[in-house]
């Protein structure tokens, strides 16, 4: 069971995190789709924090022995999904980057060639 003190600490931490998210979103240094994913986490933690009876109820319904295990399990699954999505995103980026590097190299070659043709 949680004490009121830890409940307040968690709530404050989550609110600071949400403020960070908002700042990053305004500066456009974090994509909106990732903001949504992390906002979901923050709100989830906040709900669990403010309604301490929710996790015991959910673990009981799903047949999980202890609410703490339930928290770890859900957290693990969620992080797994996030990391997997990032691998997909990185693969796509690397293909795009390769294309871009090749185009830049070919453009520089064209530039060299046209310079050479001028001097001749």
């Amino acid at each position: 069971m949680m004490t009121v003190r830890i409940q307040i600490i968690i709530a404050v931490a989550v609110i600071i995190f949400i403020i960070c998210l908002a700042t990053l979103a305004r500066k456009k240094s974090l994509d909106l789709k990732y903001i949504l994913a992390w906002l979901l986490v923050a709100l989830g933690v906040l709900v669990l924090d403010l309604i301490p009876g929710f996790m015991p109820w959910l673990s009981d319904v799903l047949g999980v022995f202890s609410p703490v295990n339930m928290v770890f399990f859900v957290g693990f699954i969620y992080l797994g999904i996030v990391v997997f999505a990032l691998s997909v995103a990185i693969s796509r980026q690397s293909v795009r980057m390769k294309k871009m590097i090749q185009e830049i190299a070919l453009l520089r070659r064209e530039l060299d060639e046209s310079k050479q043709n001028k001097t001749h």
Binding site: S94, K98, A105, R109
Partner: protein
């Protein structure tokens, strides 16, 4: 017919001039271009000083990305034939003309210079040969065709295959995988006996501790490539 030699080079300052000289002397009607894959030595400067056409990649792409840049260049500049040629002196330019004849006479889409038809010249180590035989077997199982030297980087292609490679080429360990690609597409692949030399300088891009990773990754790539569909192109 416009023909071009693509020379991927990573830190080949010691032998790039010899390679180019070899092409000038033995295959004079081939154009050539060096793809400098962000070498940390002065490969790029040497090319510029000696008026060797060079494409300098701004970021290291690895052998596949470098070679693909060459195919893209060849395709956009209207070449009919392109040949991939190592910058480290392994491949003798004296074969280029007979390779070209083989491509035309057999109406082939790709000609692979193979070390293992006549088993002459540098044959690589026993372990590598074993690995290569395994790939030959795997490719045979998947495509039904025999490629004796699927890891050979000495390959000549016509414009059709050039286009395929220009748009899609694996980033690392490309040779066995693309052999499967062209066979799956129903293209005509032929092999020609070639005597390769021991590399003059530079190292093979495959180190010993990487070889297990290499075998697994290339096997997976071959199997995946085998499962792709290319609709009668």
């Amino acid at each position: 017919m416009k023909k071009i030699v693509i020379i991927p080079a990573y830190n080949e300052s010691e032998c790039i001039l010899n390679t180019v000289e070899d092409i000038r002397n033995n295959a004079a009607d081939f154009d050539f271009v060096v793809i400098n894959d962000q070498s940390s030595d002065d490969t790029g400067e040497i090319c510029r000083e000696n008026n060797i056409p060079v494409i300098n990649l701004p970021i290291n792409l690895g052998i596949g990305g470098a070679v693909q840049t060459g195919y893209l260049y060849a395709f956009r500049n209207g070449y009919d034939v392109a040949v991939q040629f190592d910058g480290d002196g392994q491949h003798p330019a004296s074969y280029l003309n007979s390779m070209y004849d083989a491509l035309i006479e057999n109406k082939a889409d790709i000609v692979v210079g193979s070390r293992f038809i006549d088993s002459k010249g540098f044959q690589s180590t026993a372990l590598r040969r074993f690995g290569i035989r395994y790939f030959t077997l795997l490719i045979k199982m998947i495509t039904g065709k025999t490629v004796l030297d699927p890891t050979s980087g000495f390959r000549m292609v016509n414009r059709d295959t050039m286009k395929t490679f220009a748009y899609d080429y694996p980033r690392d360990f490309p040779e066995p995988e693309t052999a499967v690609t062209v066979l799956k597409m129903g293209k005509r692949l032929i092999e020609m006996p070639v005597e390769m030399r021991v590399r003059q300088a530079g190292k093979s891009s495959i180190h010993l501790f990487k070889s297990v990773y290499y075998m697994i990754k290339v096997s997976l790539a071959i199997i995946l490539e085998g499962s792709r569909r290319y609709d009668d192109r």
